[in-house]
């Protein structure tokens, strides 16, 4: 009820439909991404191998989220929800590695 319901409701009943071509383009891009990530794994990029793999995965995920999952057409609240989840995940990772990554920094053996 947070939204004025009467005037907008008639148009809201017919959802916006993405053209079929969008879906097939996204699918093609995802397949290319898969091929690219396999290919990149066989090239020695040093430390960048991980970064490239992760970057491709994030790009693929973004496509799925925006188009297949219709976030592009949702209210801005949905991205906020997603980012709050990812933010907490980041906190989990960063604070966890803040422990293991800093062992021995302050001169106490093993800690």
């Amino acid at each position: 009820m947070a939204h004025p319901e009467t005037s907008a409701s008639s148009s809201a009943h017919a959802p916006h439909v993405m053209p079929l071509s969008t879906y097939f383009l996204v699918f093609a891009a995802l397949m290319v991404g898969t091929a690219a990530t396999v290919g990149a794994a066989y090239v020695d990029l040093g430390w960048a191998n991980n970064a490239v793999a992760l970057a491709i995965a994030i790009a693929k995920a973004t496509l799925v989220v925006l188009y297949f999952m219709h976030v592009k057409e949702n209210t801005r609240l949905i991205p906020a929800v997603i980012f709050s989840g990812l933010f907490m995940l980041l906190i989990l990772f960063v604070n966890l590695l803040a422990d293991y990554g800093t062992r021995g920094w302050l001169g106490v053996e093993g800690r």
Partner: protein
């Protein structure tokens, strides 16, 4: 600052650290008393003074009418924050003192298991659930658990350190008072957790020497000497030889140096490194060597590991050749 002798609110102070923890605690306690009294007095005064006089009465919204309200809120956010940061800084300083052992501390070893403490002195003498130490000598305990997580806790020294089954952790203190002090297991470890207790006996240095000397003959074999026998018994010496034909890294003079690993990272060869390299040789492969060493996991006890680590510590680069020919 004064000692707090025989106060019913504070445990005995067995070390200088204990005194500094008590001072920190008194500071925090002062803050607690001031703030909680302030709140309690204000609440009680308002309760009485603004007690409802008649049914239709309502309160006065002072927040909206008074432009200073928000400044007031900022004040009571910022002042506590300042005090908290002081407490944080002081507490961190004390924590460093609690955990960073001074150089030259005597090295003791502690093995925890359900539900007892096994302790080994620098000269190899062993005790169970008791630790005798000399007064005024900095003592460093290197601790490992054979099963679950335990915790070494001596209230008189005001510090806990968990005893892990996966790596050595350290505990240090310098006793400033003779007598007997409680030793507790501070981390719940199973059925007889509350029986995993013992005592720290702080003695005059001369009494400690006498106590060390007064033990049954043959019992005291320095950990390093036992480690040397074990080193041969486990056939470590067939590969870890101090000559250039060795298939394994030369251990002489290794301890305390920086080791370069296969992937180029460098680690310090400390007690945890040596222990891990015996249990999981392949976890950290030294550059230029193949991962051919078998694991000794399950084949050596934690106490034997302590002996081996102690032996490796004694291997000096200079007399390495002599050691190997034995």
């Amino acid at each position: 600052m004064p000692n707090i002798p025989n106060s019913p609110l504070f445990p005995e102070q067995g070390s200088d650290i204990a005194r500094s923890v008590d001072h920190l605690m008194l500071f925090a306690l002062g803050g607690l008393v001031v703030f909680s009294t302030l709140i309690a007095v204000l609440v009680l005064v308002f309760m009485v003074k603004y007690r409802r006089k008649h049914e239709g009465e309502i309160g006065e919204d002072v927040y909206e009418t008074n432009p200073k309200s928000q400044i007031l809120e900022l004040v009571w956010s910022v002042i506590p924050l300042g005090l908290l940061l002081i407490l944080f800084g002081w507490g961190t300083k004390v924590f460093f003192d609690q955990n960073r052992p001074p150089t030259g501390a005597a090295q003791y070893w502690v093995t925890g298991r359900q539900w007892m403490w096994k302790i080994q002195h620098p000269n190899g003498r062993r005790e169970i659930n008791e630790l005798h130490v000399p007064l005024g000598q900095a003592v460093q305990l290197r601790m490992i658990s054979e099963d679950v997580i335990h915790d070494f806790f001596v209230p008189a020294f005001r510090i806990h350190v968990d005893v892990l089954p996966s790596r050595y952790t350290t505990y240090w203190f310098k006793a400033t008072k003779t007598g007997e002090f409680h030793l507790f297991c501070g981390q719940y470890c199973g059925t007889e957790h509350s029986k995993m207790v013992g005592k720290i006996v702080v003695m005059e240095p001369r009494a400690y020497e006498a106590w060390l000397a007064g033990e049954p003959a043959g019992g005291a074999q320095a950990a390093a000497a036992s480690g040397e026998q074990l080193f041969v018994a486990k056939a470590c010496n067939t590969c870890h030889r101090p000559d250039s034909s060795a298939r394994a890294p030369i251990l002489n003079g290794l301890f305390g140096t920086q080791v370069t690993l296969q992937d180029g990272t460098r680690v310090t060869a400390d007690e945890n490194y040596v222990r891990e390299s015996i249990l999981n040789p392949a976890a950290k492969i030294v550059q230029g060597y193949q991962p051919v060493m078998p694991t000794f996991k399950g084949q050596v006890t934690e106490e034997e590991l302590i002996q081996l680590v102690n032996y490796v510590k004694t291997l000096k680069a200079a007399d390495g050749a002599a050691e190997a020919r034995k």
